[in-house]
Amino acid sequence: MSEAKEPSASRRAFLTTGVAAAALVPATARAKDDPAITGLPSWTTTPGEGVDARPYGTPSQYEKHVVRRNVEWLTASPVSSVNFTPLHELDGIITPNGLCFERHHAGIAEVDPGQYRLMINGLVDSQLVFTLEDLLRFPRQNHVYFLECAANGGMEWRGAQLNGCQFTHGMIHNVMYTGVKLSLLLKEAGVKTSAKWLLAEGADASGMTRSIPMEKALDDCLVAFKMNGEALRPEQGYPVRLVVPGWEGNMWVKWLRRLELGDKPWHHREETSKYTDLLESGVARRFTWEMDAKSVITSPSPQAPIKHGSGPTVLTGLAWSGRGTIPRVDVTLDGGKNWVRARIDGPSLSKSMHRFYYEFKWNGEPLLLQSRAHDSTGYVQPTKDELREVRGKNSIYHNNSIQTWHVSEKGVVENVEIS
């Protein structure tokens, strides 16, 4: 093995034990007695911890590697930075709360719910203040939505760079929110007809603000206080965040403290100097809110190599669109010469992640894996070259192109680009 070039030590360890053990022994051969069966493990003989040991449960001690991770060289300080969801370790469509990626501009605000206030001001009949208790007295709704940072994949514009879908695609999570429709709160204040825009503002030390057009505010936005059934995590905006379905994550203002109605957009920092997409011509697009349809194979992937050798293999991945549902995902094993339809399993909800699978028998030859999402508007996820053709390489944001993974005959997976 040319070990020097293997991506990581732990992956090597996996391979030497995994591949050697599984691939070479035919299923029909008589196996040696397995001590996992013939021996009595301690968990079978001895009682474990009682119900009082873990009042808030945590994952198994064997799952400690399943964590959010950051890329140190990306930003100047971890206080104004991002970490990434370990997509390669997850299945289904819901992201567990403790694994939802984080993006803060001035760290995690620890807001005291007793002192939480939400103000509505500007072009309304009556400027109002709500406490958290007040918000809990409005009718609630539950919706599953993905939240994707507009910069997800931003490091890959110039070429394949990071080995792992956690890093190339992990600025996303998919959560069931419980909250109050923003339109209900606005109705309570009485929106004036001159109001065309809404400014959402956070209570953190960055004072995050974004301008949102009224049509969206009155359409499907939520003022949410629960995620996956429990209170929002501090890093996700506890006690209250804005939910802007299908639109870029930066607009989902956390620690939401104020909603102002106005007749024009505010053109604040996060919608001018950032979150605008520079094109090759030197012109930049602004207000690029919707997240285009996208998909990625989460396993096999660089952090989830094939360890079992040739034979039955499960390929799985995620697809989503800010414009609706994902009725179809195509998968190729040969770098796009031939495609097959993947099987979508689980709920198909608008502006939510979709889980897809493709089961096949791997013959042990190298593979070039790709997935291609189709959304309910008919839009088809573009290749990297197709996207660069219309966007150049300087956009940073909204890279929704097709990802390629190279699988070696040893099952090692690498992030590559292909012709």
Binding site: S8, R11, G154, A205, H268, G282, D334, P382, H406, E414
Partner: protein, 489 residues
Amino acid sequence: MSRFLNRRSIAAAVCVSASLFAGWAAAEKLGLGRPATEAEVKAWDIDIRPDGKGLPPGKGSVATGEELYGKLCASCHGDFGEGVDRWPVLAGGKDTLKSEDPVKTIGSYWPYTSTIWDYVHRSMPFGAAQSLSDDDVYAITAYLLYLNDLVDEDFVLSDKNFTTIELPNKKNFKLDDRPDSPIFKKRDPCMKDCKESVKVTGRARVLDVTPDSGATKDDAKAPAPTAAADAKKDAPKADAKVADKPTAAPKAAAIDMELAKRGEKLFRQCTACHDAGKGAKNKVGPALAKIMGSPLASVPGFKYSKVFKAKAAEGAVWDSATMDAFLKKPMSWARGTMMAFGGVRKAEDRQALIEYLKLVAPGEPGAKKAAAPKEAAVVAIDAALAERGKKVFRACKACHAVGKGAKNKVGPGLYKVLGAPIGSVAGFRYSKTFKKKAAAGEVWDAASLDAFMAKPLAWAKGTYMAFGGVRKASDRKALIEYLKSVGQE
């Protein structure tokens, strides 16, 4: 069980009164919440729009802005807005938007002046948001415009002339027209025999910037040129060098020859005034024969300025931290120094210079250890100042215990800090940045404490001390005097 039955019967009783169950129509208001008072709206509604809506009355000059910027902004954004490490670049970048490496600054990219005012006012300085007065914000905005060659040096920005200042790149923004692009056309993509051959054209492994899977042993790796996070190209290489150091034995810190070699080249700009290496003589500046690890102002025969004499009296030592701070801004780090030199702007250049000095001008082995604690022990305490420091220290008490046997809280226990090696409090879990400093043999002296307290997050990038910093130099001095006094009582 009876409890459940009870509740059910209560529910049944309540059912009788149908009006209690009246739902409410979507069109109707609930009457929840309360009216916001005028003062409340004023307190929170701080946003500014391009048309000037929201601007408070006030004004500020470029000159005032320069002073404020130097104190509050330059440590991250650079003296000229060029950006330190990965902090945002604020000036320059003209005509780069179509290039391979666009530099998006206020002058080259931002469309509106109001964005500067609003953002500085609501979020800056980093770590002390919303601490600036309106006039301060006008002044800093004016200075940022000046740094971008958009106004003259005698310009004064005010609410009166604000909307007349247009940024040059305003015209180069357009609305989202993604749906008009060819890739949005409905397509029925090919499924079979779509291409003849496929070639791998690029591999992530070539760049190798993925963090290792071991969460604790991450090496800082040099990223390739990328658009990511508006990253700068040159900084990470220097970071990688720093990260290498902890593996070397802390005592005989190995010299990075490649870095030192680069430092030698950079040192050329210093040779007009400084002779370096064995047998070096004093010129306009002191001979640099034994510097790294030596006490400040200790070169025989050189006539030092007052500021250096004072620092020497405090027991300060030339280590990587003090040298870096001095080289960065000689005249502000050592106010009144005779070294009429603007400073070395790039962190990696300073690192190279220091590496070169370590190579050609190492101090006496052990000089650091001998000098600092002894000096600190002899220094008399200004009791009144220490008393004032004790008061200022109240702000620190939530996280730091002080005195003999002080326990670690959120921050390390503080006892005999002056002269102690950085990152040496037993049982405290230090951030990487402090571990690095510890591995480099850095010591807490008045200079390093002052620099740290002034801007914790900038001086020790990645520190867990989530504290904005002590702005007043006099407060920092008092704090240091207080810390000195602890352990000497």
